[in-house]
């Protein structure tokens, strides 16, 4: 138990910092993925044939290839590409910030999944609501803000909640490319002290706490987004 103390001979502080890093990456990747997802869903539903085919290729490939392989590919290729671009423009090479790289790579993966979730949710909106908005002469952006997004939220939130939980767990994969998030720090701590079981159990408890905490928040958001909808199963 002394090993888990917050002050330096113990590793508790490091673990908590690792958890914070994990949460940062998960949040960043999730938001980036949502932005890609909104664009992707709109492109898939309303875009031209070429845009649709390209987006289909993107979502299919990202969902079929293991995240670990994608992370390695994007991590190496992305860093290489940016440095070549900088050299071509006459700047010096830079070291890619690990946090930013992690966010971009996981966000790219999340984007494919949230594209599909949002596309399904938009398709689930009763057609009459959108037609009514059009009949009132709403411009497209106003319709997106006032009709499409609020009406699709109840359909999208279960899927999006799942994606958030996946995002928090996928941050562990960045340990393989040596990024300082919770799993990697746990491994270092365990290697340094030889108390493997203690540290892995502690990290598991931290991840579990994050998941359970998220679940509470998600339940609240879901209730909020369903306000005004009939309760499932004819509840009170």
């Amino acid at each position: 138990m002394d090993l888990l103390a917050l002050k330096p001979p113990g590793w508790g502080g490091n673990l908590l910092r690792g958890l914070l890093n994990s949460v940062y990456i998960a949040l960043g990747a999730y938001v980036l993925g949502l932005m890609i997802g909104i664009g992707g869903a709109c492109g898939k539903l309303y875009g031209g044939p070429v845009v649709r085919d390209l987006l289909e290729t993107y979502t299919t490939i990202v969902r079929a290839v293991p995240e670990l392989v994608l992370i390695l590919l994007l991590y190496f290729a992305g860093a290489d590409l940016i440095n070549r671009l900088l050299e071509a423009m006459g700047y010096a090479r830079v070291d890619i910030n690990g946090l930013a790289a992690g966010i971009v790579v996981l966000g790219f993966v999340q984007g494919a999944y949230s594209t599909e979730v949002l596309r399904g949710a938009i398709l689930a909106i009763p057609q009459g609501q959108i037609e009514a908005a059009r009949a009132y002469g709403m411009p497209p952006l106003l319709m997106l803000r006032r009709i499409t997004i609020p009406a699709m939220l109840p359909f999208a939130i279960p899927g999006l909640a799942n994606l958030w939980l996946i995002a928090t767990k996928d941050t562990a994969l960045l340990a393989v490319v040596g990024f300082n998030e919770l799993t990697q720090i746990t491994r270092q701590a365990a290697g340094a002290t030889k108390a493997y079981l203690t540290f892995f159990l502690a990290a598991g408890a931290l991840y579990l706490a994050l998941t359970l905490f998220s679940n509470v928040i998600i339940a609240r958001i879901e209730r909020w987004s369903r306000r005004g909808m009939p309760a499932i199963g004819g509840g009170p």
């Binding site: 079929a64 290839v65 293991p66 590919l73 767990k169 562990a172 799993t183 998941t211 359970l212």
Partner: protein, 260 residues
Amino acid sequence: MSEPKNAWLQPHRLVLIAIAAALVISAAVFMRWDWLPRYYDLALQGIWRTIWLLVVTCALGMMLAVPLGLAQAAGPWWLAAPAKAFCTVIRGTPLLLQLWLLYFGLGSLFPQYPWIRESDLWPYLRQAWPYAVVALTMSFAAYEGEVMRGAFAGVPRGQLEAARAFGMKRFTIFRRIWLPQAIQRALPTLAGETVLQLKATPLVATITVVDIYAVASRVRQDTFIIYEPLLLLALIYLLITGVIVLLFRRLEARIPARVG
């Protein structure tokens, strides 16, 4: 809206296919593939090990998922609570962490006990793959157990009541009525879960199991060629995913679509 028969081959698709083909050919011509013959045998072994892991852990996981789902859907609380706790804990923590906990954590604990070292299981416990199988099986069982819980609960009560009215024994009801219908309900998600399981297999490379991902990593370390092995690896996973999706589509086509 009736589409013409060859609607799939529209002009813009032809152009896109041509561009994709050009990319593949230029990759084949301009990139370095001279390492391929040397690692050919190892790669085949890696692919075989990946598929073996996938099939074994999915089969074992499914066998565990049925009791897990049943316990949660219909069991008494002292069975339902541990099953639910198991599913929550496994689904709430990263698989990589579970894998390392088993391999590094338990693996470092076992040698301290002489009776474990002297047991017949010791030759297996010293290797990495049993830990990989256990971790992947538990993960699949937890995710699929949650699906099976919903599937068991979703079978209409009338079906079970009718079976009871016919005087079927409880186990016969389970075997002939409840389980088949629950599996039919779970089948569409099973394909997705299997693909997710395939995507989880490369994690075992981090505990020294030589699957196809580990082979690609070794090529990268030996030859300092970065992109080619990774691209080929992505292609292999794409192909395996395609095969899984096709197999499940065939399986689903053989089962009547309307349930309940």
